[in-house]
């Protein structure tokens, strides 16, 4: 057990260092930046705002639109900026993972647009994107029933591990991104690429829950310190 080491020396259940920041963009209604190891993601939220084209709007609730995009310089070899099928699919699943937490019926006939830009990809980009997008939604002041925290787990060299790097992701037997609401304990995204036995699945899922809870605590601390800083500034001015 002790001799099992990952390429970067981490333990199977050890996350990479995580950095989070909100309010990083001036024009967006909400924004956040998340770094998880070598993965760097920037997210902007616009809205609730008017829907264009207008027929897409819904009379009883807001709609959510999402674009997940990888910058051409984010990968080892240049990635063409035109969206790939992978990016189209991930845009959809990220949207679904976040939409179930937003209180959409408060804003009929509007749209909430989420832009996830991957600046550097080193594994777990959709998860970092979801974590950041949830922070950006909170920063935009959009009412939600919970935050969403996400982290990938997988099977590498026969062992269940958490937070795969890009290299581990390429070599692994299975890769399973998970997003959940840490307080309400609901899964909002789960995907599996690769093969797991039902027992391995349970082990992996439990590891993902643990990781997401930890990430959820970091998200809350990030938001809290952001608003405390604003509070201090206001008090100082007064």
């Amino acid at each position: 057990m002790s001799e099992f080491t990952r390429r970067d020396g981490r333990k199977p259940d050890e996350l990479r260092p995580i950095k989070m920041k909100v309010g990083v963009l001036d024009k967006a209604d909400g924004s956040a930046y998340v770094e998880q190891g070598g993965t760097k993601v920037l997210v902007a939220v616009y809205g609730p705002r008017e829907v264009h084209p207008r027929h897409l709007g819904l009379p009883e609730s807001a709609i959510v639109r999402c674009r997940y995009h990888m910058a051409p310089f984010s990968t080892k070899e240049r990635k063409s900026p035109t969206p790939t099928r992978r990016e189209i699919e991930l845009s959809k699943v990220i949207k679904e993972a976040l939409a179930s937490t937003i209180m959409l019926d408060l804003y009929p006939r509007t749209t909430i647009d989420i832009f996830v830009e991957v600046l550097q990809a080193d594994g777990g980009t959709r998860c970092a994107g979801i974590t950041a997008a949830s922070l950006a939604l909170a920063h935009a002041g959009i009412p939600m029933i919970d935050l969403v925290s996400a982290c990938a787990v997988g099977k590498w060299n026969g062992r269940i591990i958490v937070d795969l790097t890009g290299e581990e992701d390429e070599e692994c037997e299975a890769d399973m991104p998970v997003a959940l609401m840490p307080s309400l304990e609901r899964v909002t995204l789960i995907q599996l690429n690769g093969r797991l036995t039902p027992d391995e699945f349970l082990e992996a899922f439990n590891l993902a829950v643990k990781a997401c809870k930890y990430i959820g605590e970091l998200q809350k601390a990030t938001l809290r310190s952001y608003y405390e800083k604003i509070k201090e500034e206001v008090l100082y001015e007064q």
Partner: protein, 270 residues
Amino acid sequence: MSSRLVIPELTKRRIRELASQRRRIDKRGLAEFRTVFIERGIIPQADGSALVHIGNTKAIAGIKIDLGQPYPDMPNAGVLAVNVELMPLASPTFEPGPPDERAVEVARIVDRAIREGRMIDLEELVITPGREVYVIFVDTYLVDHDGNMIDACVLASVAALLDATMRKAIVSEGRARLIDERSPLPIRHYPLTATICRIGETLIVDPILEEEETAEARITIGFDEEDRICMIQHSIGMLRYSELYQAINISREAVSRLRKELCKVFPNAG
């Protein structure tokens, strides 16, 4: 895909009511698939083909096999290319044009089930390493959409691959050419999926269109013939952890029943 499907509120309410009593609008069991029909070899022009019905949902898959170059990062593997089209014939909400996000999602689910389920041994499809390999095109058409397009497209694609044969390649002067001697594909595993919807607190397998529109959450789970999970896609809504575990168990049983239908046409499929 602009026009939206309208399901009467009355129907949705009835479906919810029934679900709370663990019943369904078409009187099926909660974990029961609709009647499954599989016909192989319906398109003789193709290298392999299948027509699949799951209830009123119909999908046609065709296989074409060509020679081509491998991916630069995988010189020792053949190429598998999966495409899914949601035909405008199939539903008033489908429009002609390039695949939208729904079609792309389904195509990628089918691709993952086949690829990660290791259905085909791609290394057997190499003719000259790094230069020439077989390219398998799986084109799956959803032609009538009455719910659960994912399972229908996976089943049609898998059946068409099982039906397919490839021509033998002869290499002369460094170039390969295909001759009219055929053999089956190097099939190793038999992945299949089951899609589950949550309506209220009840999980149902193989939703019809009205159930899909009423559902609060949807998840598709794939298994190979050894009951290993080879694909998960949670595509809508939220699930309790316990519901996720339950969905795994329900889908495993549902897939094994679906597999029996596949075995009637392809006796080796698990």
